[in-house]
Amino acid sequence: MNKNKKIAVIIILVCNAILISLLELIIPIPIPVPGVKLGLANIITLIAIVFLDLKDVLAIVLLRCLVVATLSKGLMMLLFSISGGISSALVMWLLYKKMFGLFSIKGISIAGAVVHNTVQIIIASYILKEPIVFYYLPILLISAIVTGLITGSISDLTIKEIRKREIFSDSV
Amino acid sequence: MKKYICFMTILLASILLTACSIGQVQSYKSEGFALGTIINQEIYGANAQQISEEAMTRIKYLEDLMTINAPGGDVNKLNEHAGQGFVALNPETISVLKTARKISDLSEGAAFDITVAPLVKLWNIGQTDNPAVPPAEAIKKLVPLVNYRDVQIDEANNQASLARAGQMVDLGGIAKGYAGDGVREIYRKNGVKSAIINLGGNVVALGSKPDGSAWSIGIQDPRSETGEIVGIVKVTDKAVVTSGDYQRYFELDGKRYCHIIDPHTGYPVDSGLMSVTIITSSSTEADGLSKAFVLGLDKGLELVQRYGQAEAIFITTDKKIYVTPGLRGNFRLEDKSHEYTYVEER
C-alpha cells in the first residue's frame, strides 16, 4: 500500500468504526449490566490489525473513541472507551502478529472482547471505589465470548473478502 | 466447536444448580395481630403457612375467652357474676385459671395474683393520655379485694366463681404465655421440629434451629428507646418471657409508674428492678414467674430457685445484670450502651 492509499484506508476505517459505534447505540441490550455491548467497532479494529501497522491501528481506535465519546457518551465514558479499546487492540495485535498459528480470527476477536470488558470493569471498580469486578465479570466474560464470536465471524468474512478482491492492494 | 459450547453450557448450568441447592432450609415467616400485640411466627418445614394460620386461629380463640377489654368471653362472665356463686365456663378457661392458681401459689400471691384487676383498672396505666395517681383512699378500698384464693375452681363440672362482689380476674398476666404454649402444641402436633414464635415480646422456641444450633434470643435493654438489646441468651426448646417497668408506664414528677401493680400495696411496683426474664419450658409458667419482678432482686431470685427448672436474668435499676447459675454459659452481654454491668458472682 502506498502512503496515500494507506491514509485513505485509515480514514475509511475510522469513519466506518464511528458509524458502526453510533449505530450500536440504537440497538437495545436486554442485559442490565454495565459494559455489556456488541462491540461492533471491534470488526474494524481487527481488519486494521490484519492490513495495517500497530500505530495505524491505535490511531484508528483513538480517533473512533474520541469522536463517539464527544458525540454521545460524554467525556467520563471516554476513559472507558479508550482504555478498553487500546488494551484489546494491543492484545489482538500481539495474538495476530506473534501467535497467528495458534489463533483464528474468531479466537483473536474473543480474546479482544475479553480483555476489553475486563479492563473496563477494573477501571469502573477503581472509579466507584467498590470491588464490583467479581460481581459483574462472569456475565461480562460470557458476553465477551458471544459478542467476540459474532464480531469475529463478521471480521473473518470481511477480511477474506478484502483479500480475495485485493481491495487494499496497490494494483486496484 | 459446538461440542465445546455444549460442554461449557452444561458445566455452567450444573454449577449454578448445585450452588442454588446448597442454600439453607427456608423458613416461613408471618406477622399477625392478636392479644393486643404483634405476633411473629417463623416456622421451618412443610405446610408452614397452614400451620401458622392454625396457630393464629388458636390465639384469637383464646383471646376471645380471656379478654376483659371487649364484651363477651368467659373471664367477663366470671367477673360479672362475682359474689353470685359458680358460673359454667369453657374447659380451656378452667385450665388457664388452674395454671394461674398454681403460679400464684408459688409466691402466695405476693408476686402474681390474677385478682389484681380492680387495681389495674383504677390505675389504668398505659391506656389513657392523662395518667394520674389515684387517691390513696380508692386504692386502700380495693386492696382487700385482691386474693387469688377467692377464685374457686370446680374442675369436675367446668365451673368457677369469685367469692366477693367487686372482685375481678385479669388473665392478662399469663394470657400471652398460655397462648404461646398452645401454639407450641399446634406446631408439635403438625410435626414441626423447628419454629419460633414471638407474642409481643414473649418468645417460645420449639426445638433448635434447623442446623441443630440453639436459638439466639435478644434480651431488651429496659432503657433503650429504639429496642436495642443488652444481651443474648442461647436456648433450645424453651420459652423466654420478660416482665419489666418499661413496657407500659407513665412518668409524673420524675417518678416512673409501671403497669405492673403490687398486689399487696396496690401501687405500681418499685422494687429496684427494671426487668426480669425467665427461661423455662412452659411459656405460661415463664410468664407468671417473670412477675418475680414485683419482689425485687433477692426475693425474686429466691422465688425462681424455689420453683426449680427455671433460669432467670434480673436487671436492676442501677443497671446491673444478674443471671442464675445455670444460665451463665448461655448468656452473653451485648450492651452497645456500655452502661450495664454483668454481675457474674453474687
Partner: protein, 128 residues
C-alpha cells in the same frame, strides 16, 4: 460453525475463560454473605451517602440526587431500586429491584452504586 476452522489456541482460550467464569461464579456464591438481615448501601463517587436497614423501612422512601445526573432511588420494605435516572443507557433503572444480599446496581455515568449487604442476624427473636 466448522470445527476445522478452530485452532489450538482458540480451544485453550475457550477453556481458560470458561474456567475463570466458573471459578468466579463459585467465588461469588461462597463469598456472598448469606445473612437475611438486609442492609442497603448507597454510594456516590465512592462516598457512602446512605445506609438503610431494609427490614425496618415502613413507608416507601425516595432518595434524590440533584447534582450532575439527576437520579431517584426508591426504598421500600425489603427492597431498593433506581427509579429514575437521567443517564444515557439507563442500565441502573433496568437492573430493577434489589431484594437479596449481594445484589448490586450501578450507574457508571453518575458514579452511583446501590448494594445490599446481608448481615446474619444476631438474634432470632427478641424478648421484651
Amino acid at each position: 460453525m466448522n470445527i476445522r476452522m478452530l485452532k489450538k489456541g482458540d480451544l485453550i482460550l475457550f477453556l481458560g475463560v470458561g474456567l475463570i467464569i466458573v471459578l468466579l461464579l463459585l467465588w461469588n456464591n461462597l463469598s456472598t454473605a448469606s445473612g437475611n438481615h438486609l442492609i442497603a448501601e448507597v454510594r456516590k463517587d465512592g462516598e457512602l451517602v446512605k445506609k438503610i436497614d431494609l427490614d425496618k423501612v415502613s413507608e416507601p422512601e425516595h432518595i434524590y440526587f440533584e447534582e450532575g445526573i439527576h437520579q431517584t432511588i426508591l426504598v421500600e420494605k425489603g427492597r431498593i431500586r433506581f427509579l429514575e435516572s437521567d443517564c444515557r443507557d439507563k442500565i441502573c433503572v433496568q437492573a430493577g429491584w434489589l431484594t437479596k444480599a449481594g445484589d448490586k446496581a450501578v450507574c457508571m455515568p453518575a458514579k452511583t452504586i446501590i448494594k445490599i449487604n446481608g448481615e446474619s442476624q444476631q438474634t432470632d427473636s427478641i424478648a421484651f
